[in-house]
């Protein structure tokens, strides 16, 4: 009985330690409003970050789940929004769209960041000059990306899809 009591006490001690660490982990987010935060919806992010315009694609391949599974945003030092989209069948992130102020020195990395760039090409997205990267994600899966600038923001779209689909998504974020 005394032995059992010790094991129960040990379990309680570990549970309290975990809760304490969890509480300590929550504090910086509570006092710090400017760092990277997770938002429930795109509207929440837009309102909280006071973004004049959030560029969203009007074309979405059917395999994607809307709304985005994750929306991250940051107000300072530079405004930034990053969205991840999940494949309906695979249930993993296959598309990420980031809109960051062009001056942002440390944009947040996407969950599907390419690990090996095979080729870079200049590309025109509705007349805007951009860069297309043909790359591989971890595990050797193709994940291509396209980057361009618009109205003081840098846009980066990474998709585990063909170049044609990627460019179609990118072009649909721009009106003209």
């Amino acid at each position: 009985m005394a032995q059992l009591r010790k094991y129960v006490l040990f379990g309680i001690m570990i549970a309290v330690t975990v809760m304490l660490l969890d509480l300590l982990n929550w504090v910086p987010n509570a006092v710090q409003k400017d760092g990277v935060r997770k938002y429930k919806t795109i509207e929440d992010a837009k309102a909280s970050l006071k973004l004049s315009k959030l560029f969203l694609p009007s074309y979405f391949p059917q395999y994607l789940i809307w709304p985005p599974s994750e929306v991250y945003g940051r107000r300072k030092p530079s405004k930034m929004v990053l969205m991840h989209f999940i494949n309906y069948d695979r249930k993993d992130v296959v598309l990420s769209i980031m809109q960051a102020e062009a001056s942002d020195p440390h944009p947040l990395r996407s969950r599907i960041e390419p690990v090996k760039i095979r080729r870079r090409d200049a590309v025109l997205i509705k007349g805007r000059r951009g860069e297309l990267s043909l790359a591989l994600c971890s595990g050797g899966e193709p994940c291509n990306s396209v980057t361009w600038e618009e109205e003081g923001y840098t846009f980066t779209i990474i998709a585990k899809d063909s170049v044609q689909e990627l460019l179609k998504i990118a072009e649909s974020t721009l009106s003209e």
Binding site: K6, L9, F10, M13, I14, T17, V18, L21, D22, L24, N25, V27, P28, N29, V31, Q32, D34, G35, V36, K38, K76, P77, P105, H106, L108, R109, R111
Partner: protein, 334 residues
């Protein structure tokens, strides 16, 4: 400026500094609580538990990064980590990062303290001791050799050489890492009775059996590698003290007389210097002497209060559980 201070913690070395300190705190907390919960009273067990506080934070970060190189990423912190230390140092108030500056101040102060107050004197002592006495001692004589031979028989170890040095202070210590010698000074023969002398020699031989010199050196090297971390600074002293307790226990198992060892230790209590005039050197010496006496006093009281000296079957299951919990929990502390 964003940033150099913060960016450092994105580098491998920066992450090591930050995480090893966080791991030290978590490990210290769990070990100290476990010692109470498991009611660990035997010095040998306490030593093994406390060793975890020093060794695990030293090796855990590279081990975890090897298992999962993505462990330091934002998404690991977001999805899996239960505590992220970089969030704390990154807190910004009115454009400043006060906790980052405090953190740098602490690791800077600890580093300077380790180098100036700890590392330099210990290294100086380490290198000087054998040269000061090792070659100059004279053989202790037949009687001492006989006592040492008896103790060696009980402890089942090779008989070390015993050298007597001409020093006015009471001194006894062990030198060597493979070929050991016990060095003692002449005044001990006049202040010790037979039982005290046997206890003092048995204590030194316990250090030989335990290979304390090598253990202490390894522990010291780990501590020096983590010079920026305040926890090993505190834990090292506790470990050395636990090692002394273990050797005291071995001594009592050989002599069966804890009182003799207690009175043998009293000889090494230092006079605390005092002066009407304030002098920094006096203060420093007084602190050092008091600290030395405090550690000795603890050992003397433990011996006079009879233990516990007896060894009981070691709780390896509880130790393994504690170890697994520490490693498992710290994996999620980044």
């Amino acid at each position: 400026m964003y940033n150099i201070g913060v960016i450092f913690f994105d580098s491998y070395i920066g992450m090591y500094v930050l995480q090893s300190i966080a791991h030290s705190f978590v490990t210290l907390l769990i070990v100290e609580m476990s010692l109470r919960i498991w009611e660990v009273k035997i010095a040998r067990e306490r030593f093994r538990y406390r060793l975890l506080v020093l060794i695990l934070p030293f090796i855990m970060f590279p081990l975890f990064q090897m298992i999962n190189p993505d462990r330091g990423s934002f998404y690991f912190m977001e999805d899996s980590a239960i505590f992220s230390s970089s969030r704390w140092v990154g807190i910004q108030i009115f454009g400043l990062r006060p906790l980052l500056y405090i953190f740098y101040f602490i690791i800077g102060s600890v580093s300077v303290l380790v180098f100036l107050q700890e590392m330099v004197p210990i290294l100086r002592d380490w290198f000087n001791k054998p040269q000061e006495y090792g070659g100059q001692g004279s053989p202790a004589g037949v009687e001492i050799d006989k006592i040492v031979g008896e103790i060696s028989g009980v402890l089942n170890t090779a008989i070390p050489s015993v050298l007597v040095v001409d020093d006015p202070n009471p001194i006894i210590f062990t030198t060597g890492t493979t070929n050991h010698s016990i060095v003692l000074s002449k005044p001990l023969f006049s202040v010790y009775n037979a039982g005290e002398l046997k206890s003092a020699l048995a204590h030194e031989m316990a250090h030989i059996v335990r290979r304390s010199n090598i253990t202490t050196l390894l522990v010291f090297l780990i501590r020096i590698c983590m010079f920026f971390n305040p926890i090993p600074l505190l834990e090292f002293r506790k470990l050395v003290q636990d090692d002394e307790h273990i050797c005291d226990d071995i001594t009592v198992s050989v002599t069966g007389d804890p009182g003799a060892l207690a009175s043998a230790l009293k000889v090494f209590c230092l006079d605390v210097p005092h002066s009407d005039e304030f002098k920094f050197s006096f203060v420093r010496e007084a602190i050092e002497s008091s600290s030395h006496n405090l550690l000795l006093q603890e050992r003397i009281e433990r011996l006079e209060n009879n233990g516990p000296f007896d060894y009981h079957p070691y709780g390896w299951g509880r130790y393994a559980l504690t170890l697994a919990v520490i490693i498992g929990l710290n994996y999620y502390v980044v």
